[in-house]
């Protein structure tokens, strides 16, 4: 049992590491700046983090509503494409990596040791092409090339805006990020340990469900907003496959979100949001020669992710706060097929956990932003009662800053420095002690 858990932990850590190392989506889009002759700072507090004007532009279907949004008003040579990458130097440490006592000879046994690596690196290339096809019809296609050259399609959708001449009716069809004002795609932190929002992707140790609320999903979204975008809603129907194309699961998940902004005198715009994702995933598959048939899942069981968040502005200082409550069905949590209930451990229950983060920004001016973030995820109930309650809990601290020496309506360049330190409870591979990792990163983040 112990070996199985360690293997699962190892696989999950590898998967998490791979996710963080390869997927660093961007979504600061100079193609829009070029189209409208606006600087990055018009739409971004500090790119890629949107400000409210940028969020409104996005919610209007990449339109400024100036009457010149349709592509016919652009020069015929204009093509809405953007590239982003960040050549960098970074140092990574992990205090408890299973290492061979005699290098190259695992039979001599293993110990946990500190492993530190450093060097120059790249994080892949974001390519974004997005804009309007016609007035009130927009599109977005975002391939991502990993630093090893693999290509994936993060986003591809078409969107119909202002249906019935109302901003309250906008329809998106395709693969897209779930609607939220705290988008993981526009996160400022970039390091392996500090980048991304862990609560968006967390799943308990041993859980079969690989869902991440930050993953782009396949489906259709109806969203609407007030003219000033203070009041927003969205409702999505999504294929139950976590955004994996070609897997047609025949069941659907739903996601809903509502946000309300209000003006606080002398402070700025304060916004609160609530969201909820209800889905289900198969616990086993039909097989052919023992190989699972894609999309042919059986024994679906449910899960949910719900929570609240807020964006709080105090002049140049602002806080983003996020809370998530996660819950998986007992079969998903224990990784047991629903047609084999006898394999559930005694006292098994659906795992539950709470996660969130507080991210603070001080925007000294549009070209300099200081950032800090504290993230945590804490299990409140393990799927297997024999498992230590705190196993897998996360705590991550990150500090950094971004300086934008070049910021024009054509391109952007940022100098980025960041340090992050993370603690994962009980997940060291051999002794099940706390695993502590750290990242130090500095690099040139450029966007053209």
């Amino acid at each position: 049992m112990g070996i199985v858990i360690v293997k699962r932990i190892g696989i999950q850590l590898l998967a998490l590491g791979a996710l963080l190392a390869t997927i660093q989506p961007s979504f600061a889009i100079p193609a829009f700046a070029r189209k409208y002759n606006l600087r990055c700072s018009d739409c971004h507090e500090a790119w890629p983090k949107l400000n409210h004007f940028g969020q409104t532009f996005k919610d209007n279907g990449y339109q400024l509503m100036t009457g010149r949004d349709a592509p016919i008003y652009q020069q015929s040579s204009y093509f809405p494409i953007m590239f982003r990458s960040m050549p960098q130097w970074h140092r990574e440490t992990d205090n408890r990596v299973a290492t061979d006592i005699v290098p190259g000879n695992p039979k001599k046994g293993q110990v946990e040791s500190l492993v530190a690596t450093s060097g120059f690196d790249i994080n892949g290339i974001d390519i974004v092409t997005a804009g309007t096809l016609y007035k009130n019809i927009s599109f977005d296609v975002q391939p991502f090339i990993t630093n090893k050259g693999d290509i994936s399609l993060l986003t591809y959708f078409v969107r119909f805006d202002n249906l019935l001449n109302s901003p309250w009716l906008n329809l998106t069809v395709g693969k897209f990020a779930l609607d939220t004002l705290l988008s993981d795609d526009r996160e400022l932190m970039q390091s392996n340990v500090g980048g991304g929002y862990q609560a968006y992707y967390f799943n308990p140790i041993g859980d079969r469900n690989g869902f991440g609320i930050g993953n782009h999903q396949l489906g259709a979204e109806l969203m609407g907003h007030s003219v000033n975008d203070y009041t927003r809603y969205s409702f999505s129907v999504l294929s139950s496959n976590d955004g994996q194309p070609s897997d047609l699961p025949s069941t659907y998940d739903v996601y809903g979100e509502f946000t309300q902004g209000f003006e606080a005198p002398k402070l700025g715009l304060e916004t609160i949001g609530v969201y909820g994702y209800l889905g289900e995933r198969p616990t086993y598959f039909q097989t052919s020669n023992g190989v699972p048939i894609g999309g042919a899942g059986l024994g679906n069981r449910s899960f949910s992710r719900t929570g609240v968040y807020g964006l709080w502005y105090f002049g140049k200082f602002d806080l983003s706060t996020f809370y998530l409550h996660g819950q998986d069905n007992v079969f998903l949590g224990n990784g047991v097929p629903a047609n084999q209930p006898s394999r559930l451990p005694a006292g098994a229950a659906g795992p539950t956990w709470n996660g969130g983060f507080v991210e603070a920004h001080y925007t000294y001016n549009p070209q300099l932003i200081l950032i800090s973030k504290y993230q945590t995820v804490q299990m409140s109930r393990q799927a297997n009662p024999a498992t230590r309650t705190a196993l897998g809990d996360l705590k991550i601290w990150t500090v950094g800053y971004r300086w934008y020496p070049i910021m024009s309506s054509r391109a952007g360049l940022a100098w980025h420095q960041e340090y992050a330190r993370g603690l994962s409870v009980g997940t060291s591979p051999l002794t099940h002690q706390n695993d502590i990792t750290s990242s130090f990163l500095m690099g040139f983040d450029f966007d053209f």
Binding site: L38, D42, F53, T66, K266, S408, S409
Partner: protein, 260 residues
């Protein structure tokens, strides 16, 4: 000597830099120029320029050109031609944007932020400190639209030579259309009055009435406040509204105007 230099430097700076004593008042909101400066540098400077002279880095690429705030000449006002706009006029322009230009609606900014921007924009011209505020022109209640009103408006449209710029059918293609320039000498096109109710200074009947009586300063569009009576201005407004796509049909006027 040192003191004199400092005084001279102080005088020089006070002449060359905007004064931050400027404030704005929009309803219950009081705008602060100092706060507005930071917002201006984030959102406005690329087009309107660091000195508010409309010479931002994007200005060469834009048509129409960004407003030159140092001249304090504004199209969209509720005040008589040639006078300064009210703070509310500037606030409304920022909020609404200028349709069919590069100036977007800035409603996503908070009301306070927009009021602060108004206060800062006023620092670019000493006119705002030197000239007393001017009261807005009053807009009388709109009489009901009628076929007769539209017919009178159509006649006035001809008699007042509106057609020479806006065209016989209001399509913005009058014989003078291609020769027009704004006050800085840049080419400017008259509005196509048939292309939907999308006007620079607002789309309501009251906004069109206001445009006619105040004129659009800095453009060839004159004020008709001295040449038309208020009821005649309303007639012209009704005629312009009837030119919109489906407007004639909506008002049941199509047959009437065809003389059927």
């Amino acid at each position: 000597m040192m003191t004199r230099s400092r005084v001279a430097l102080g005088l020089l700076l006070s002449c060359s830099l905007p004064s931050f004593a400027q404030e704005s008042k929009i309803g219950n909101l009081a705008g602060d120029a100092k706060s507005g400066k930071a917002l201006y540098r984030r959102y406005c400077v690329t087009c309107h320029g660091q000195h508010g002279d409309g010479a931002g880095e994007n200005a060469p690429h834009l048509d129409p050109k960004p407003r030159d705030f140092t001249k304090a000449t504004f199209k969209c006002r509720s005040t008589p031609s040639g006078s300064l706009p009210t703070d509310t006029d500037l606030y409304d322009t920022i909020s609404r944007g200028i349709y069919n230009s590069n100036m977007p609606p800035w409603r996503p900014l908070t009301k306070q932020e927009r009021a602060d921007l108004v206060a800062f924009i006023k620092t670019f011209s000493t006119r705002f400190q030197e000239e007393p505020p001017v009261a807005p022109l009053s807009i009388p209640a709109e009489p009901p639209t009628s076929p007769e009103s539209v017919q009178r408006g159509a006649q006035l449209f001809q008699d007042m030579n509106c057609w020479s710029c806006h065209g016989k059918e209001g399509r913005g293609n009058g014989p003078s259309a291609r020769t027009l320039t704004d006050s800085k000498g840049y080419p400017i096109l008259p509005a196509d009055l048939t292309a939907g109710m999308h006007f620079k200074c607002g789309n309501t009947s009251q906004a069109v009435f206001r445009d006619l009586v105040t004129g659009l300063d800095g453009t060839p569009m004159p004020s008709f406040t001295d040449s038309l009576k208020p009821e005649q201005v309303w007639d012209v407004v009704h005629y312009i509204e009837s030119l919109q796509s489906g407007g004639l049909k909506q008002h049941g006027l199509l047959q009437l105007l065809k003389g059927e």
